[in-house]
């Protein structure tokens, strides 16, 4: 499908990134908020690189966000060059993810996988709290140095936004190329009909492991960026409640869509920042909206947008596909 370059989704995304801060400020928020939204957009897209790709829902990916954040923060004290610190964040996150993937992916799928990843994330939280000398324990990690990016002063909010925008663009472009590669095609097949894929010649475990690690890398990158944005890393980022928020955002945006999670991040975080000053029970509102979406619009905002588009074109929309006819369950015993 050849399409003019200017219509390529990534190009459109780049343009959106350029325009985004103006929109955010026009809606009453600050440039700082705009950067914050981007951090979550990256996090959610990273999570979705696993969830929306191979179908594995990890409730523990917040731990990679946290690992990335701590790495970036600690690195910043030695190498005052943000891009290097961020790359380190992603690399460390992937390094941690790899052995975990090797252990967990083979042994668990579905809900079991969600439970175990949730528990592993919590475990890292408790470890982090104890390693006070490295992580600052419960107080978190401070003294994170932004330094200068060549001649650009990053303490300016505007400059920081452009840094975030570049990071977001690179991260999401990476995710895009992964998703739209032959590898990505196999992953999506795994999500649709896992049982059949081995019979097509692919080792589903290896594919899922790789997705796990790559998505961890992107979540780590988001964490690194967050460390520089907030100039502080709290151990809480490792907890399942942090992942929970990312899961919520991803689902609200649309698990089956590529840009859905990023859009969801902007919407949810915007909503939160509007609600927080209004009521201290704001998590209940978010939770209720989320539950409503799960029940009524599991395709998220992207799903709703698709339905709206179909209605507008007055074409009979494709019916929700029947429950995937899965190959008869065959067990691999022994």
């Amino acid at each position: 499908m050849k399409r003019p370059l200017y219509k390529h989704p990534l190009v459109l995304f780049g343009i959106a990134l350029y325009v985004f801060p103006y929109l955010v400020v026009a809606l009453g928020k600050s440039t700082f908020n705009a950067s914050e939204f981007l951090v979550w957009a990256i996090f959610a897209t990273g999570l979705n690189l696993l969830w929306g790709h191979t179908g594995d829902l990890s409730f523990g990916h917040g731990m990679f966000f946290g690992w990335g954040a701590y790495t970036a923060g600690l690195m910043s004290r030695h190498v005052a060059f943000v891009p290097v610190d961020l790359v380190a964040a992603a690399v460390v996150a992937m390094a941690v993810a790899w052995p975990l993937a090797k252990i967990i992916v083979r042994r668990a799928t579905g809900i079991y996988f969600a439970m175990i990843t949730l528990a592993v994330g919590e475990m890292f939280f408790f470890i982090a709290i104890r390693l006070t000398s490295i992580t600052g324990g419960e107080n978190g990690l401070g003294d994170i140095r932004l330094g200068k990016l060549f001649w650009i002063d990053l303490t300016s909010r505007v400059n920081f936004y452009y840094l975030s925008a570049w990071v977001a663009f690179i991260a999401i472009a990476c995710a895009w190329f992964i998703t739209h590669s032959p590898y990505g095609r196999v992953c999506r097949a795994i999500q649709q009909n896992r049982a059949r894929v081995p019979f097509l010649g692919f080792d589903t475990v290896r594919y899922r492991e790789r997705a796990f690690v790559m998505s961890a890398g992107i979540c780590g990158l988001a964490g690194g960026l967050a460390a520089f944005l907030f100039r502080h890393v709290a151990a809480d980022t490792l907890r399942w409640t942090n992942t929970g928020e990312a899961v919520l955002i991803t689902m609200l945006g649309g698990v089956q869509s590529f840009f859905g999670p990023a859009a969801g991040a902007a919407v949810v975080k915007f909503l939160e920042s509007t609600l927080i000053p209004k009521t201290k029970y704001w998590p209940a509102v978010i939770g209720a909206i989320f539950a409503a979406f799960v029940l009524l619009a599991p395709g998220g905002l992207a799903g709703l947008a698709q339905r709206a588009r179909a209605l507008l074109r007055r074409r009979p929309e494709a019916e929700a596909p029947p429950a995937p006819p899965v190959a008869p369950a065959v067990e691999r015993t022994g």
């Binding site: 095609r185 019979f199 494709a318 899965v326 015993t333």
Partner: protein, 241 residues
């Protein structure tokens, strides 16, 4: 010299599930390039045999050889790389992927060179080109079945296990399907599980009969059909068609 090459062989294949013996000492030899049918009443163990041959489950005892090579216990994706593919009784496609994507991912196993052309050719053979962009889940049952077969063939396997390919079809549909299959599969080794006896007689060169986990007869179709033991098995066997 030996006779024609044996593409697929099992030696003393046995499988028990928690004490229930489903297959007992099955010795099967499939000559390369032929169509070999495995028949038997329900519960005879045909699906289990297929599951073992395709790597889905492990045998309790015995060997599986692919072109002389011991592949016992190999995983399905490893067997596919050696050219062994299987189809399923229940249509099993990737529902929200397009027809084209379904076939592309299946054809990928053979490599990325000329992927687009191979997929186009396949769609053409299956008569699915007009529907290439439709989601697999919205196709009619018959079209889905053809797509399913396409997925099995996309990796250009040399040995194909067909698990009741005409299940649930009318006589006419079955004939049509088998005719197009014969066209597409010419020259390859096929192991076929089928209940439609006419079909089996027509297209297979050799038939093995499984009854309660044991091979009770084997030979050319006409011979097997006249075999008194086989007739008895079908009359008193567990369940009837």
């Amino acid at each position: 010299m030996n006779g024609p090459a044996v593409a697929l062989r099992t030696v003393g294949l046995t499988k028990s599930f928690r004490g229930l013996e489903v297959l007992r000492g099955v010795d099967l030899a499939v000559t390369a390039g032929t169509t070999h049918a495995v028949i038997g009443p329900n519960g005879a163990g045909k699906t289990t045999l297929f599951n073992i041959l395709s790597g889905a489950i492990l045998p309790s005892a015995g060997r599986v050889e692919l072109r002389g090579r011991d592949v016992t216990g190999w995983a399905p994706h490893q067997l596919l790389k050696l050219g062994l593919a299987r189809s399923f009784q229940v249509t099993s496609v990737f529902p929200t992927l397009s027809v084209e994507a379904n076939l592309t991912v299946a054809a990928q196993a053979k490599g990325l060179d000329g992927l687009g052309e191979r997929v186009d050719a396949l769609m053409d053979q299956l008569g699915l080109t007009a529907m290439r962009h439709l989601e697999a889940g919205v196709l009619s049952h018959g079209d889905q079945r053809r797509l399913d077969i396409g997925i099995t063939l996309a990796s250009e396997p040399s040995i194909i296990l067909l698990d009741e390919p005409t299940a649930g079809m009318t006589r006419a549909e079955a004939q049509q399907t088998m005719a197009s299959l014969e066209r597409m599969l010419g020259g390859r080794t096929i192991v076929l599980v089928e209940h439609d006896m006419d079909l089996v007689m027509r297209i297979s060169s050799r038939v093995s009969v499984l009854h309660r986990g044991i091979l009770i007869a084997e030979g050319p179709p006409e011979e097997v059909r006249e075999n008194p033991e086989v007739r008895e098995a079908y009359l008193v066997g567990v369940g009837r068609e």
